[in-house]
Subunit: 121 residues, 2 copies
């Protein structure tokens, strides 16, 4: 019943976004969502932190991706990227200890420039 | 340094929204955020689950509030409601075991009607 209701609509709790699958352009699963960065004032999603190559939730590399690089695919039940795993691995990355990079405008400027996306700020 | 960067901008991780303070119309703290319901497809915040009267994170009652009932107050570092604690306590509520009410359109219709907010769906 709950699953039925959930599939009917598209909202998800902030406490449930972690672990949502990320698929590459060819449909292969290449990682998962760690968190979504939300604008506290406007309520808009800005960036998604994607974990690639983690094993049992450990290790792997983290990437911050502009929200518009992801598209939710209802059939896959996850986000599809318009890039391959290889391209993602070539993008700016950081480790577990540097997760505040997502709040660092200098770093984010490099990320947006890498993906040729206009910054929202 | 991190705090400085964080105060400069308004993004927050989905893993950090829990516990954000909720203030009433008179500026008193009346509760805290449990989670934000996000549209997976558009990335927009839709509803906020607010916990009122909890002690050490236990007990208390939960309310689902349309996003537009909250306004982020940078000085307070939390969301301000345009209602009093009394009015909030008179609104539709549910317990810990019924958190999927936020995904229930019938329930949400009652909530939006109570707050005289037009449903987004």
């Amino acid at each position: 019943m709950l699953d039925e209701r959930m599939s009917e609509q598209s909202v998800i709790g902030s406490d449930r976004v972690e672990g949502t699958s990320i698929y590459g352009t060819n449909g292969d699963k290449i990682g998962s969502v760690r968190r979504i960065m939300i604008d506290k004032i406007t309520g808009e999603a800005r960036d998604v932190e994607v974990s690639v190559g983690a094993f049992l939730g450990m290790g792997g590399e983290l990437h911050s991706l502009p929200w518009e690089k992801l598209e939710y695919d209802t059939e896959l039940g996850g986000y599809k990227l318009d890039v391959t795993e290889e391209q993602l691995r070539g993008a700016p990355t950081y480790g577990e200890a540097d997760r505040d990079r997502q709040l660092d405008r200098e770093y984010q400027t490099r990320v947006y420039s890498h993906w040729t996306v206009s910054p929202y700020w």
